[in-house]
Symmetry: C2
Subunit: 192 residues, 2 copies
Amino acid sequence: MTTRTAPGPRERLLEAAQRLTYSQGMAVGVDALLKEANVARRSLYEHFGGKDGLIAEVLRRSTAEDEAAYHQAIEAAGDDPRTRLLGVFDGIAAAIDRPDFRGCRYLAADLALTDPDHPGHAITRAYRMRVQQLLEHELLALGHPRPVAAAGELLLLIDGALAAGVTRPATHPAASARRLAEHVLDARPAAA
Amino acid sequence: MTTRTAPGPRERLLEAAQRLTYSQGMAVGVDALLKEANVARRSLYEHFGGKDGLIAEVLRRSTAEDEAAYHQAIEAAGDDPRTRLLGVFDGIAAAIDRPDFRGCRYLAADLALTDPDHPGHAITRAYRMRVQQLLEHELLALGHPRPVAAAGELLLLIDGALAAGVTRPATHPAASARRLAEHVLDARPAAA
DNA sequence: GTCCGGGTAGATCAATCGTTCTACTTCTGA
DNA sequence: TCAGAAGTAGAACGATTGATCTACCCGGAC
C-alpha cells in the first residue's frame, strides 16, 4: 500500500499551499500556510528548504494536475477530433463556474514572482509548452492545415477565457471562446 | 498657463508610482516609490492618505490614459468602421512590442489586491465597462447584428492577446487576435 | 520683516515577513 | 528496551513593511 495512511506533513503542506496560494496569491504568509496545514514551522524548511521551494513544488504539482485535466476533458469528449478539442473549452467553462475560480494560476504566478530567476517561471513555461503540444497533437489528428498556428490561437482563446472569467464571469467567456475555437478548427487549407 | 512649471510632488509621485507598480507589481514598497519620485514621505500621506489611496489614484489615471489610447488607435485607423475596430489590435501589437510590456495592468491589479473592498476594483470594473461600450459603439456603426455579444468576444480576444503577450510574445498573439477579430466582425445576421 | 503653508529629511513605531533555533513528543525498528 | 529519526510547539532574529512624528527649510503674501 502506497498512500493508505494519513497524509504526512509534506503532503498536507503541499495541499494547503496549493489552495491558499491560489485563493490569496503567492504573497500568503508562511504562518498562514503552516496554520492551514497544521504543520510545524520546521517541517516546511526541512522538506522544501523555504517558501520558494514550496511554491516551486506547488507549481510542479499543479501543472501536472492541470495537464491531466486537459487530457481528461479531451478524452471525455469522445473520439471525434473536433469534438475532443472543443471539450477543452467545456472543461474551462466548468472551471470558471466553480465558486473558488480565480483565473489562471500560472499567469498570476509569473506576474507575482518578481525575481525572473525564480524556479517557478521555468515550471510555468514548461507547462505551457506541454499544453501547446497537446493541442498540436489533436489538431494533427484533425487534419488541420496549420496545427502549430492553430494551437497558438486556441491557447490565446484559453488565456482570454480564463482572464475574462475573472473580470466578467457573467458573460460566459468560455462559451464565447468555444465559438471562436470552432472557427479556428474549421480553417480550410490555404487557397494558394 | 496650467502645467508649465516643474511638476510638484503629487505629480512626480503619481508618475513614479504608475511606472513602478506596473514594472514591479502592486507590492512595491513605499520607500521605493518615494525614492523614485524624489518626494518626502510626508507628502505621500498628505496627498493620498496612504499607499492604497495612491494606488487608487494611479489606477484612475491609467484607465483614463488607456481609454484615450483606445480612442486614438481607433481614430488613427480612418473612417471605415471595420478598419477602425481592427486598429485596436494594431495598438495592442505595438504595446506588446514595447520592451517594458508586462501585460494588462488591471488584471494584475485585481489579482494582486486581495481585499475585495479595495477601491481599485471599482476603478478597473468601470474601465472595462467603458471599453466594452466603446467597442459596442463601433460595432453598431459597423452594422453588426449582435454588437453586445461581439464586443464581449473582442474583449476576450484583447484579454487573451495581453495575457499571451506576457507568456509567449514571440508568437505574435496580437496578430492572431486580429485575425480572429476579423471573423467576429464579419458575422452575418442569424439565418433564423 | 515676518509669518506660515508646503515641502524635505529622517528618526521612529508597531506589525509582519521569512528564517533559524531550542525543547519536547511520538512513533518505529533493531 | 531503547536509540534515533521525524514531527510539534513556539520563542526569537533581523529585515522590511506601511504609517506617524519631529525638526528643519524655503518662498511668497501681508
